[in-house]
């Protein structure tokens, strides 16, 4: 198959090329297969999907050309995300950190050697994870205590990390450590790239309330990291970490919003076609249509975040926090509605399901990842109030 990128200068043709490729490549039964898949099968499927995207140039299209990407504009990324959502194509969750956070950190702060070495690995399927949170450093991330002590041309790391998505399968880790325990807490942090195969790295999966185990806990015992793996300067890791966190704002959330749109539309169409009982309840119908109004507002807001992310001064904006607050709570309320109308059937244990909102309890429980991960909604409220509304910090 030819690279879809060849059509990039004509946006409608580019979209059509993606649409054609998706129609050809996405297995119609992929969801059904994933419902029954073991962890190993899921990971193999994710790697297959990455490889297929890579073949047509859609693995890292958003990266600069000099590092193997296509340097595509945001309009193109939006088109890709929209077509993926429309086709209900698989998401590449295994590679989220690899595709978004790692380049978002290395491009502004990495050395040329680091960029050359690590960016190239992602299109080949290297998996990255993030070692930020610790058992005692969640919302108060800057209080982290994992120690890194210089020893010749290495640092020796001891500590514990948690909530590290897909760390069980990762090749590399974006790691925050404390190098100066006597400095003010934001000033003694250093950022490293850690090879997950280093001796002393142990990963234990964390079983989640929704039945899955996507996160790992990292136990680090005398792990030796070469000094050349430091990103930015020693004790300047907090500033580098802001780039990692900021990279989350954007196309991923946009794609999530678009996927929800198609899912809810498919759900509604199916309800009409099957004469679902909830449609006969006027109040449920009103609740549902209110969700649609909020969903349209959320989709417009996600577009605004994308537009804004291309402008100067975007890092000072609290709009991403406002959007996170509104869209994650809306997701939770929509899923809650789905649980309620599913009755006892909806309480029968099931993980992924084929149909739209086919396993509403799974979706409802999974929605907490939106309200808790990436800075809890309570932290977002602080950000909105303090940075956005100018309310004093005390």
């Amino acid at each position: 198959m030819m690279s879809i990128l060849e059509a990039q200068h004509d946006l409608p043709a580019f979209r059509q090329a993606i649409r054609n490729w998706l129609a050809e490549i996405v297995p119609p039964d992929w969801k059904a297969r994933m419902v029954r898949a073991s962890n190993e099968e899921y990971i193999a499927f994710q790697r297959w999907w990455m490889a297929e995207r890579s073949k047509v140039g859609l693995a890292i299209p958003h990266w600069p050309k000099e590092y193997g990407g296509a340097g595509l504009s945001q309009r193109h990324l939006v088109a890709i995300a929209d077509e993926m959502a429309r086709a209900d194509a698989p998401q590449n969750r295994l590679f989220t950190i690899s595709l978004i956070h790692m380049p978002g950190t290395l491009l502004p702060h990495g050395t040329e050697a680091q960029k050359r070495r690590y960016l190239a690995g992602v299109a080949k399927g290297e998996v990255w994870c993030q070692g930020f949170s610790e058992p005692n450093s969640g919302s108060d991330l800057a209080s982290l205590r994992t120690r890194a002590v210089r020893d010749g041309d290495h640092y020796v790391v001891n500590g514990q990390k948690i909530w590290s998505s897909n760390s069980m399968y990762a090749d590399h880790c974006l790691l925050l450590t404390r190098t100066d325990p006597n400095a003010q807490k934001h000033r003694g942090i250093t950022y490293f790239i850690m090879d997950m195969r280093s001796p002393g790295v142990e990963v234990r999966p964390i079983r989640q309330a929704n039945g899955r185990a996507e996160f790992g806990e990292l136990f680090l015992t005398d792990v030796r990291i070469p000094a050349e793996n430091m990103i930015g300067a020693e004790n300047n890791g907090w500033r580098v970490a802001q780039a990692t966190l900021a990279s989350e704002r954007g196309v991923i959330s946009f794609e999530g919003g678009e996927r929800q749109r198609y899912e809810i539309e498919a759900f509604y169409r199916k309800s009409l076609e099957t004469g679902a009982a909830w449609l006969r309840d006027a109040q449920l119908h009103r609740d549902f249509i209110s969700f649609l109004a909020e969903m349209q507002a959320a989709r417009r807001l996600l577009r605004r975040v994308l537009e804004e992310s291309q402008t100067q001064g975007a890092s000072a904006s609290v709009l991403p926090s406002i959007v996170k607050l509104s869209s994650t709570v809306l997701r939770q309320r929509i899923c809650s509605f789905m649980v309620r109308i599913a009755g006892v059937d909806g309480q029968v244990f099931a993980l992924l399901a084929e149909g739209p909102f086919g396993s509403p309890m799974f979706d409802f429980l999974s929605a907490f990842s939106g309200t808790i991960a990436g800075g809890t909604n309570e932290i977002q409220r602080n950000i909105v109030a303090e940075r956005g509304l100018g309310m004093p910090r005390i």
Binding site: Q74, A293, E307, R381
Partner: protein
Amino acid sequence: MVTSVMDRANMLDQATLDALRESVAGVLAEQCGSTELHAFIDGKNGLDKGLWRQAGSLGWLGLGIPEQFGGLGMGAQGLAILHGELGRQCAPGPYIATLSAAQAIVETGGDAICQAWLPLLASGEASAAVPATLDAGSLTRSGAGVSGNVRCLGAADAAFLLAPTADDWVIVDLANAEKTVAPMWDRTRNVVDVRLKDAAPLGILPDAAATRAALTRAMCLAIAADSAGGARSITERTIAYMKTREQFGQPIAGFQALKHRAADLATKLAVADEMVGHAVQRMATDEPDADLWASLAKSEVTEASVFIATDCVQLHGGVGFTWDFDPHVFLKRARLNEVLVMANTALRDQAAAALAAITMSGRSALELE
């Protein structure tokens, strides 16, 4: 750069809209500040009349009226900005009734009626009244005349009423009609009870369904924009107050419990603005789902604004319960907005029916651009 939600060939450019907003906001901030507004509420000035004259001379009243009838032809986009800014200052006057009646006439009045009335409305020479709720009864015909009682939204001296009969909509002269002005909790707008007896219509709009739909859409957008503007304004005023009010030795704005409430209000405001924006976009490009989104904007945003204004009273503490502070003025305006046109439950029922019809026809009501 992604395609902006506003970036459409048949929509006005952002610079034009920003300039409009700035100029309307500037005039209202100068003339309709808190002091003037409270004096008006207490019957100590004629703020409503002064603003109306100025609105006429500045072209605000013709924003949605095509240029050939003396307006500026800025459609739903211009109207949403004007109503949003009027809401921000709780500006008194019959704007929602008059400008919405004008839209219904533009869309379904026919040339003669447009020629006769739109220039008068655009200049501010005449104001209009409309039924406060559109699902109430209709006027009855007796020969050439119409009779009945209508509870109207509009000024006591409105020139005419646009109201339905069983078969069509009529324009009725109000100069000699029997009128009772109801005392309202919201003193920034009037509800007038009109009793008509064999009144001769000045004009007839024959397509009842189309006129009803046009008026509903226009009122819904106007009310939603007014509510969103009002909610934003009272939130800003409340947060400013919280930064100055000290208890326990510090500004109350520093307490986390209150910060989180304020952040939630800011989030609701962002959502409300987008709901208005979405309705505007669907109306400006004349999409088949425009009615649906206008109805939902009204029902969602008016409820959000009641929630927000209620919380703003509470966040003020004791002074929030006084006549002299602003929150109650906004809360009362929000409460009237909430019940205009028709109950929000009924609007959602209509929207749900429209959604089902669009979906069953194989189309989507969820397009954004």
